[in-house]
């Protein structure tokens, strides 16, 4: 059942030290900046984060990394031109990295939500990212066995929710939202607005409310990342 709460602080209040958090976003698109700011304020640490990137610039996930709240990150593309906080933590040996090809990351999340125990993927076969993993040849093609990736929490951003938690996203900000929502025990969503029940056409629901536990409306222009915390550009 979906609960609508009124502040980001309330939305993330049950996150504790050591939790695994699936964090939506591809770069800044779909990154739940305000939820991450609130998460920083909880003081939770030793977190495991699953996210496509490891944060960029001086906002959102990058700040969480900067504050050394992330013990371990599972992601596909940590190193970017503006990933200085991750880079520093990594070079200092203060963050553990599990690098996963992007499609395997997505499919492992999908498997977690879909009750699949493991699956054979062709991606990564013969590469160092498959080292030590079980492989199999099926109909002449080579595959690597990969396992689901569950989260204690998912923190994602959508465009709209209705009062029963059905979600719609916006353009490429959809990215990991739907699969993370299904892969976490508790899914927390920030949206631009909460619509009344029936306002979303049942044919156009992207994430059904069954996957959504907590919704907080954080109004702001949908095409920007909102009023989230940022810091001065990196020196």
């Amino acid at each position: 059942m979906t609960h609508i709460v009124s502040t980001a602080e309330e939305a993330v209040s049950s996150i504790r030290d050591g939790c695994t958090i699936l964090m939506g976003g591809f770069g800044n698109a779909g990154q739940p900046f305000e939820l991450i700011d609130a998460l920083i304020d909880t003081g939770a640490e030793s977190l495991t984060i699953v996210s496509n990137n490891a944060g960029q610039g001086d906002a959102g996930l990058a700040l969480l990394v900067k504050e050394r709240r992330v013990r371990r990150i599972i992601c596909s593309f940590p190193r970017q031109k503006d990933s200085w906080h991750f880079d520093a933590a990594y070079r200092a040996g203060e963050i553990e990295l599990e690098l996963v090809p992007q499609g395997n990351l997505a499919e492992r999340l999908r498997a977690a939500g879909a009750g699949i125990g493991a699956f054979y993927t062709p991606t990564g076969y013969g590469t160092e990212l498959a080292r030590g993993k079980e492989t199999r040849t099926i109909e002449g093609k080579n595959y690597v066995l990969e396992y689901p990736l569950h989260g204690d929490f998912a923190l994602i951003k959508a465009l709209h929710a209705d009062e029963v938690g059905n979600l719609q996203y916006r353009k490429t900000a959809r990215n990991f939202g739907p699969i993370m929502a299904a892969a976490a025990s508790t899914t927390i969503v920030q949206v631009a607005d909460v619509l009344s029940v029936g306002a979303i056409d049942p044919e156009h629901v992207v994430t059904p409310g069954i996957y959504v536990d907590t919704v907080v409306a954080l109004p702001g222009p949908p095409s920007t990342t909102g009023n989230h915390r940022t810091e001065a550009p990196h020196e």
Binding site: F26, N28, G30, D87, Q102, N104, T123, G126, K171, T172
Partner: protein
Amino acid sequence: MNKPLTRDELAKKVAADISPGSYVNLGIGQPTKVADYLRPEQNITLHTENGMLGMGPEAQDSQVDEDLINAGKIPVTETPGASYFHHADSFAMMRGGHLDVCVLGAFQVSARGDLANWSTGSPDSIPAVGGAMDLAVGAKAVFVMMSLFAKDGTAKIVPDLTYPVTGLGCVTRIYTDHGVFLLSGSGASSTLILHEAFGLPAEEIAARLDVEVQLDHKLGSSAEAHFQSPVQPV
């Protein structure tokens, strides 16, 4: 043509070799330039792995929308007939063999079509893979765009990769400043054919590679390479 191709000429050549109506993913970097040479009448649909078919050109000024970006996190635009989908659906599309062509940059390609493009293997670099390995395994045709020779003069088409593998036996064509190579067959029985040569005699190109190269019969044994009609678009 007796000059090596410029990057723009190479992009134009790749663009011309893509069949009308194809669904195409252009990798980050040099392959992005191919989009500039796709003609409207080719009716190509571009895929970006962060969840979109029907990607348009880079966004300009007021078009910029940070919810609409490509795999390189550059703001882009939407074309009529576009669609959005989530990451699992997007990579299912790639891995499931639905894209007709994917164009990728590379550090090295082996004569068997093995690709290295995600990591230099440098011990002090921070690794990042993104969708490189997914793109390599999934598309019906995988085109590589790269310079044929590294700065130190060594060829980037090699007997065996010395850079970390992205995908094995996945490359079908290699577009370089000095020539277009076709790969056919697979594994030990694969064949590397030099289809067109630019700026150097075909035989010299072949001689500078440490792998067996067949010369396309149109290249013949002429000492001077010449411009060929394009290969059959795929």
